[in-house]
Every structure is written in C-alpha cells, then in structure tokens.
C-alpha cells in the first residue's frame, strides 16, 4: 500500500524546463509546490565538472546523462501492419532524465514558430484549398502567435538568447530572419561570433539570393544576468554541448536560469529519484486527487494535491495520461480519441561538402553557433506549384569535432584500413556540413499508445510509437535537398553529397529528439487532449505542458515554443484557474 503524504497545492511531474518554470511561477503565486523527478539531482558544479566534462565516450557515446532504456524503454514500428519491438537502446532520439531534463543536454537553438504555424489548418486551407492537405491531419493550435509573443519574449529573456531580430513590430531588420513573426524587442544578447564554416555557408546562401542569419542561440554570446537575477557567462565554443551538461554556466537550462532561485523558496520542494506511476483520479474520473510514486527503495507513496501538472518529456506525458485513464485514447482505425493523436517528429537530411587545403577546425563549435536560412521553411515560400506543404530550415551549425562520432569521409571510402586512415586524415578538417530540419505533419496513422506485450520494470506497458515519414513530408524533404544541392554547388569544394530522405523511419541512427504531439492543444475536445491553456478537457485540475501539445511540428527546434507554452500555461493558472478552479474553456 502506498503511504499517504500530507497534501500539497501543486504536484509537478518532472523537473526539467517546463517543470522549473511552472514551479517558479506558482510558488511566486504563493502556492505550496512539490516537484517529483525520476532522475537524480544534477547541477553544474558537481555533475558537469569542467575537469572531466569534455568526455565524448562517457557522455556522447555511452550517454551517461540520458534516460537509460532499463529504466524506461518504448516500442516502435513504422505502421500498424508491423509488430512493434522495444528500442533496446535509444538511438533515433535520446530522452533526458534528472533535474533539468532534456534541457540539460540540448544544443540551444531557440526558435519562435512562424505566425502561420499556429493557425496552420486555417492558413493552408485559405491559401491552397482544403484538398491540398486532405491526406494530413493538420490542426490549428487554438492560440495565435500574437497571443504567444510575450511568452516567447519571457522565455528568451529568461535564457539570455543570443540573436538578431528580423522583424521588430513589423519592420524587417537587416541581418535577422525576415520571415519571423513580429517581435516587440530584440534578443537580450547579440549573436555569437561566427566560426568559419557558417561564414562560408552564409556567403554561398546570399549568392543564391537567400537570407541567412545567425541561429538564435542559448549558448550565450556574452555575460548575462537574467530577470531572476541569475548570472551566466560567455560561451567558450568548447564543442561539448549536445549530449553534455555545460560546465561553464554558458548554456541556458533550468540549472543556469531558474533553479538557483527556485530552490531557495520555502514553499518549494524537489523529490528526485522518485518515479510517478500514475495520476490518481476521483471515483467519477473527473478530478485528479494527486499522484502515486515509487522512491529509489521501491517504496510507494501517494502525494495528494489540488493541481497536477504533467511536465515530463512529451512522450512520457502521453504515457502517464494513458496509464492513468485521462482522456480518450486515440484509435487510428476510426480516427477518434485524442490521447496519442498527432504524434509528429522531424524530417531531416544532411549535406557534406568536401574541400582541400582548408582549416575548418570543427572542434571550435557550440551547439547553436551557426547560420540558418528560413527562405524554404514552413509557408515562407509559395507552395502553389509544388506537390507538398511544409518546409525546412537550412542550418549550418557545426556543433562539434568530437572524433568518435565525427569523421566525415567521401562515399566509397573503406570503413577501415590504410585507405580509411588516409581519407579520415584528409577530410577531418576539410569538410563543411549543413542540414535541413524539416516540418513533420500529422497523419491519421502516426500515433502513440500502450504496447500490448512489453512492460517496464514496474510491470506497466511501455509506450508504443507507430510512425513513418508521411508521403507529403518525404516530397518536401527531397525538394529541400535539391535546394541544398544548389547551395552546395555555390560553396564549391571538391565534391558534395546531399542526402535524400526515404520512407521507413529507422530507430537506430540518431536523427532528432524533437518528438511532438500525443496530447495536443486545440479548441475541440474531439480532436485535442488539452484546451488552449493546456488544461485537460476531461480532468480540469490536470495541465499537460510540453511538446506533447504541438498539433504538428514545424521545421524548427521545439524548445522555444515549449518554454513559451510553460509561461502561457502558468499565466492561465495564475490569472484564471486559481481565481475560479474549473474548466477554463467550455467545450
């Protein structure tokens, strides 16, 4: 039997980016908050120690900071005709764990989605007609870019994002992203200084009439004190960013922007190495009474609370809803149900340009130090004559030169022996890489549910991921690859290789930890799991916050919108829910 603990006002499941922001906001509102985190406590001084942080084997290859499959795995298949099997090791994406969550080891690309992304169904239908998107399950978010602007701004200023505005109150700014939505003020810090490869990429893109700009970066271009009074330092371009904790207080994360203030509050408590098994519901299933969790000794506890916030990684938010019976599970055969609906990913392809006699120095790098071209992203360009919707950001962001995983050689090079050695030495410092990060649009057959066979260490069913790249997205990505080839040709070099995406999502090679959807927001409880304030339609004292809320994914990294949604939901709770607990939107 679970031991029952004293009641709290709020229980937060997962102490990563969104959990930290919600905890900070709600403790400011005077509430008594406990966060329950299944991974360990982590902070910069002890866990991302400068003396041994630059360790590729330990952190990038053996993945020391990530969620281990033994703790929680999930199963995958490309479509319902296949039998899902467990991903016995994580490969295509790498969920985080521990305090700070996946925000510990992200790269720091910090975007706002385009205004059209938030009203995508309405926008595409108006521009191209309903038939054009009839094989996709595209939906509006239920919130507009203009409504989200201040939330984006707050997240960017919390983090100290380094970038250059492209649109200030409607006026296009030279050197920024001319396709972005209007922002009320510029980024808190100027862009990072550019390394060599992104500089060459930007010159080549400009020569093709495109509009490159510095990628908005959570690796800081200079010292910064955020609105909470927490200080950060300038990024040193060490090239140990993604898959690593930042040892230098230079990458925005919960550790470097929220926790030093949050942890000093008397009305906040963090319990780590405690795994939430389920959200407990009242007999009628309409109210959450708290959560049940198990500590590191296997002892079960019941934590009663008035408000339950799901702030785990998006995929695990969805799994906890399914395990707890919150919301109707999605059924791809009927298209009905909402939990697990509209699972989306990212549609990527890479380009390598091989030179001679250059010094690219790929090890001088940071996770978000680079240049982006958005001319072919989202609906920034006319899709009228094309056979797809969506697009991709083109990114030249060489994040590292770590040699276990980064050793580019031209195709046809043997994988070992003397010829391999010669090519490896020749091209390590002579290769420029850039890539497309494409939108991922929902289809009826891509979804999340509980696996019928495989169980976790507590005997609970694993999450089952059913996903393949939609035909629309494959056409989009291949068209984008042709645009990459044009830039590669402008770059010159001795040889260039542009990848073309094919159907058959493979769970083994790393692609992207940008898993979205499954508990999407919207205006209709028949097609969304949470309302526009991220409140469960079915259990109004549960809010579900994260990329799980995205109706579909854009050609951009999701953390910016995730952080903004955290502030957006916090505002709804503080300004509306607490005054009158109950449904914020009547269906």
């Amino acid at each position: 039997m679970a031991r029952k603990l004293p009641r709290k006002d709020v229980v937060i499941v997962g102490l990563g980016w969104t959990g930290s922001i919600l905890a900070h906001e709600l403790t400011d509102a005077g509430l008594d908050v406990v966060a329950i985190e299944r991974g360990p406590w982590r902070d910069t001084a002890t866990d991302f120690n400068l003396a041994y942080a630059p360790d590729e084997l330990r952190y990038a290859v053996r993945k020391d900071l990530f969620l281990q499959p033994a703790q929680e795995a999930m199963t995958m298949r490309n479509n319902v005709s296949q039998t899902a099997l467990p991903m016995r090791d994580y490969g295509s994406f790498l969920p985080g764990t521990g305090v700070g969550g996946a925000g510990t080891h992200w790269n720091g690309h910090t975007w706002r989605f385009f205004p059209s992304d938030f009203v995508l169904k309405t926008h595409l239908t108006e521009r191209y007609g309903a038939e054009r998107i009839s094989d996709l399950q595209i939906q509006d978010w239920g919130v507009t870019y203009d409504e989200m602007e201040s939330a984006f701004d707050r997240f960017e200023y919390l983090c100290g994002i380094s970038g250059k505005a492209g649109n200030l109150n409607g006026a296009i700014q030279q050197g920024g992203n001319p396709f972005e939505g209007p922002r009320k003020r510029d980024y808190p810090l100027p862009p990072m200084q550019m390394t060599y490869a992104p500089t060459l990429f930007a010159e080549a893109a400009r020569s093709k009439g495109l509009h490159p700009f510095p990628t908005p970066s959570a690796n800081l271009s200079g010292p910064y004190v955020n609105p909470l009074g927490i200080a950060m330092g300038q990024c040193t371009a060490c090239g140990f960013c993604e898959r690593f904790g930042c040892a230098n207080y230079s990458k925005s994360s919960a550790h470097t922007t929220v926790l030093p203030v949050l942890m000093r509050k008397s009305n906040f408590e963090a319990r780590t190495e405690c795994e939430v098994l389920k959200i407990n519901l009242s007999a009628d299933g309409k109210t959450a009474t708290g959560v049940t969790y198990v500590d590191v000794n296997g002892e079960a506890f019941e934590q009663p609370a008035d408000l339950v916030l799901l702030n785990a990684y998006g995929l695990f938010n969805v799994r906890l809803m399914l395990l707890s019976g919150i919301g109707k599970p999605y059924d791809p055969s009927s298209g009905e149900g909402v939990v697990g609906r509209n699972y989306c990913y990212q549609t990527n392809a890479g380009t390598q340009v091989f030179f001679e006699g250059k010094h690219m120095n790929p090890f001088i790098a940071a996770g978000a130090l680079g240049q982006t071209v958005d001319d072919y992203n989202g609906d920034a360009f006319d899709h009228g004559p094309l056979d797809f919707v969506g697009g991709a950001g083109l990114n030249c962001i060489p994040t590292n030169g770590r040699p276990i995983q980064y050793r580019p050689v031209p195709p046809g090079t043997p994988r070992w022996g003397a010829a391999w050695k010669k090519a490896t030495k020749q091209y390590y410092n002579n290769t420029l890489t850039f890539s497309s990060q494409g939108s991922s649009y929902a289809t009826r057959g891509n979804y999340l549910d509980l696996d019928p066979t495989y169980k976790d260490r507590f005997g609970r069913p694993l999450l089952r991921v059913t996903f393949d790249f939609p035909d629309n997205d494959v056409r989009m990505s291949n068209w984008i690859s042709d645009r990459m080839q044009e830039i590669a040709n402008a770059l010159g070099g001795k040889q260039s290789v542009v990848a073309k995406l094919r159907k058959g999502w493979n769970s083994v090679p790393y692609q992207s930890t940008h898993n979205t959807g499954g508990a999407i927001m919207g205006t209709d409880p028949k097609t969304s799991a949470v309302n526009r304030h991220l409140q469960s339609w079915d259990v109004p004292n549960v809010f579900v916050i994260g990329a799980s809320a995205f109706p579909q994914n854009a050609g951009k990294n999701p953390t910016g919108p995730v952080g903004a949604l955290a502030f957006w939901a916090a505002d709804a709770i503080r300004n509306h829910y607490l005054k009158n607990p109950g449904k914020l939107v009547e269906a």
């Binding site: 400068l50 084997l57 033994a70 795995a73 963090a270 190495e273 500590d295 040699p403 276990i404 169980k455």
Partner: protein
C-alpha cells in the same frame, strides 16, 4: 526490493566497473528544499579500471583482438596502429563494465527477430558477442587457412578474413553484426580520451588534429581557415605535465 532496481551509480556511470551491490542499503529518495543542495566532492569523476591486465578476454581472445584492431587501424606513417594505441585493452575494460553487460539497456523479453528499423533485438550482451564472435573468427581462420588462428595469419590473410566477416560471407551468421561491433569499439578506443586505455599518448587525436578536452576556444573562433596552434590535451592532462616525465 525488486531486483530490477538499479542504483544511481549504475545508471550514471558507464565508465567504471559495474558495482556488485545493486543499491546502497538504506538509500532514500532525495528531498531538496530551501537551498541548492550543493555538496563539495560530490561529483562522479570517470572511474575506468586500471590497465595492465585482461579483465574479460582469455589470452587467446586478447591476442585475437589485438591482431584485429591492428588491421582495422594499421600502423603507418600517419599514426601508430590499433594494437599499440591500446584499443584491445580499451575494449576489454569496456566489456568489464556496464557496457559489456548491457546493464542499462532494455533486456526484457520476448526477444523476436526484428526489422532493420527496430535495431538490435538479440539477447546477447556485448561481452557475450565477443566471446562467441572471436571463437567463430578463429574457427573460420583455422578451417580455411591451414589450421592457423587469426592472430597467426599474415596481414593480407587477416584482411581477407575480416572482409568476409564484414560482408557476412562466412558460415557464422552474426558475422557482419559482430564485425560492426568490433569496428565501432575499435574506433571508440582509438579516439576516446586516453583515460579509458586506448588512444595512447593521444595518438588518435594527433592523427586527425583534434585538440582533445579543451574547453575555451574564444581566441580562435574568428581565426578563420588558420591551423589551430595548440597540441591536444587529455582529461588527465599532458604526459609532460606528470612528475618525472621530463
């Protein structure tokens, strides 16, 4: 306590020897409130087992792996070979830890033959795959090349055997998968920080020009297309920093 519980240490550290105690007795979930729970000396530094002995490999297995890694990365004018760089000892020490036992992976059944998109679905651990694969390698060599073990063959003969394993053109069905595992681990050994037993004197890093565990390149960010002037650095420092090495 369920036996499937893993201690923090085993989850966190891939680098050291596997702890035999599953969880510290009396360990409690940590509760933190009122302050940042910073403790001096609380960090978990890398903890690789010392070299100078074989932990997993038998003498014949060790000689076989040394011969393999020296063909995958042969000594030439560009660098020392995989054997001298310590790749075999690196692999042995990795197999002795959580990596070798698949401790951190999802190892619950049922085990089914999967599709290529579903990744490795075998129940064998890396340590088990080496034991079986190395035996198969020597069996194949002895059966086809005059009764000699792999490590007794001439380099050209060794290359031929490795090529056949890589292409899966041998009787041993898991040959190609085993070859890929060995190739991956050999590259890890040649390019990982020397603290793990390979990459002797940072030979792998010198070979390609990787400066190693440096953490501040600010002075060089805008030095476009110029050679980086500093030598590589390990987590353990540089050899000449150590007392008595001068």
């Amino acid at each position: 306590m369920p036996s499937s519980f893993l201690s923090r240490r085993r989850f966190l550290s891939s680098t050291g020897m596997m702890l035999l105690i599953a969880s510290a007795p009396g360990a409690r979930a940590a509760e933190y409130a009122g302050a940042l729970p910073w403790k001096p000396f609380a960090a978990l530094p890398p903890d690789p087992p010392p070299g100078g002995r074989w932990y997993v490999f038998t003498p014949e297995e060790a000689r076989t792996v040394e011969a393999v890694v020296d063909r995958l990365i042969p000594a030439d004018e560009l660098s020392i070979g995989g054997k001298e760089a310590g790749c075999a000892s690196f692999i042995d020490r990795q197999l002795a830890g959580s990596y070798g036992s698949s401790d951190r992976l999802y190892m619950q059944g049922p085990f089914a033959a999967g599709l290529p998109t579903q990744g490795y679905q075998g129940s064998a651990t890396p340590a088990g795959r080496y034991r079986e694969g190395l035996a198969a390698l020597n069996k194949h060599a002895r059966a086809t090349l005059g009764g000699k073990a792999f490590f007794e063959l001439a380099p050209a003969e060794q290359d031929k055997v490795l090529q056949d394993f890589e292409a899966g053109k041998v009787e041993y069905k898991p040959a190609a998968g085993f070859f890929n595992l060995v190739l991956q681990n050999t590259m890890e050994g040649f390019f990982a920080d020397p603290i793990y037993g390979g990459n002797k004197d940072m030979a792998g890093w010198k070979f390609i020009g990787f400066p190693g565990a440096r953490y501040d390149y600010r002075d060089y960010v805008t030095a476009h297309n110029k050679p980086f002037p500093l030598p590589p650095l390990s987590i353990a420092g540089r050899p000449e920093w150590k007392t008595g090495d001068k």
